[in-house]
């Protein structure tokens, strides 16, 4: 169920979303996104560029954060904007957890809005993709 306006308070946490992308998921993502850079599915190629392993696409981690936001806001609300920076590598078969905190709840131009600090964490709890979002709650 989507969150309601009355349930939201500044400082509250958004229910986290845990992902664990397999190498197979990275290949499906390559097709879905059109990003066929070999560092995401060819380990020899990845190692040849100096990486230790295949890495998860940054844009897939961004899309995971998008899923996390969509599932919270539902289909009456909308994601007005969101984004993240890619500060650390994530590897296939590692857990990647999407988290977020409401930083501001306000009304503007007749819309009920919330600003969030969002991020994805690796298994060590490092924020590999810090980001932000603005959501419209309800219609």
């Amino acid at each position: 169920m989507a969150v309601t306006w009355d349930e939201i308070t500044e400082g509250m946490s958004v229910p986290e979303l845990k992902k664990k992308p397999s190498t197979q998921q990275l290949v499906i993502w390559a097709a879905g996104s059109g990003d066929f850079y070999q560092i995401h599915y060819d380990k020899d190629f990845a190692v040849g560029t100096g990486l230790t392993n295949i890495i998860v696409h940054g844009a897939l981690k961004n899309a995971f954060l998008g899923q996390f936001l969509h599932d919270w806001v539902g289909n009456e609300g909308r994601i007005k904007s969101y984004g993240c920076s890619y500060r650390g590598m994530d590897y296939p078969n590692d857990e990647y957890t999407c988290k977020g905190t409401v930083t501001k709840k306000y009304e503007k131009d007749g819309e009920k809005l919330v600003d969030l600090e969002i991020w994805g964490e690796n298994p060590e709890g490092k924020k590999t993709t810090p980001g932000h979002a603005t959501l419209r709650i309800g219609k």
Binding site: Q67, H70, I79, S81
Partner: protein, 165 residues
């Protein structure tokens, strides 16, 4: 440090490209690709797969999952699969940088984008920076892309950062 290394990576020809708007690229949004993208992320909301569910939720057809802004029409003449994030396009730095990492993605949504829409995207280089980090010399490029739909409405603006090293 040799003399060559003191020369900035960013050339005048590169700076001249800042703000220059590209010609439009067509991005199609269709049901099959919306489903594939949603599946590749692991979305479970039926609005991304079932058109009846999408319409019942108030969308014209399957909505674009977050992060999906259509698929560019493939042109074989553009040369195979190309490089990631356009690293081989346009003016090149004073020394070759052969590797690239995605630095960040930001999207602002102004209107719903649904299957059946045809978007025209124009982009420009918004910023260039060079710095040194743990991976050596880095060139940080920021590109801004504006997506308009078939009615000429701006539906999304995306900002992407690439790190070449």
């Amino acid at each position: 440090m040799t003399e060559a290394q003191a020369v900035p990576l960013i050339t005048d020809a590169m700076r001249a490209e800042i703000g220059v708007e590209s010609s439009g690229t067509t991005y199609e949004v269709d049901k099959t690709m919306v489903r594939l993208f949603a599946r590749s992320v692991g979305h479970t909301d039926p609005v991304f797969y079932d058109e009846a569910a999408a319409k019942a939720a108030g969308y014209r057809s399957l909505p674009c999952p977050p992060g999906y802004l259509g698929t560019p029409v493939f042109k074989p003449s553009a040369g195979g699969e190309g490089g990631p994030m356009g690293r081989n396009r346009g003016a090149q730095p004073s020394r070759p940088l052969n590797r690239v990492l995605n630095g960040g993605t930001d999207i602002e949504y102004l209107e719903d984008i649904c299957a059946g829409d045809v978007l025209t995207a124009t982009s420009h280089l918004a910023n260039l920076e060079e710095t040194k980090g743990s991976i050596g010399e880095m060139l940080i490029t920021t590109n801004k892309t504006v997506y308009k739909n078939q009615d000429g409405k701006v539906v999304a603006i995306s900002t992407g950062t690439a790190i070449r090293y």
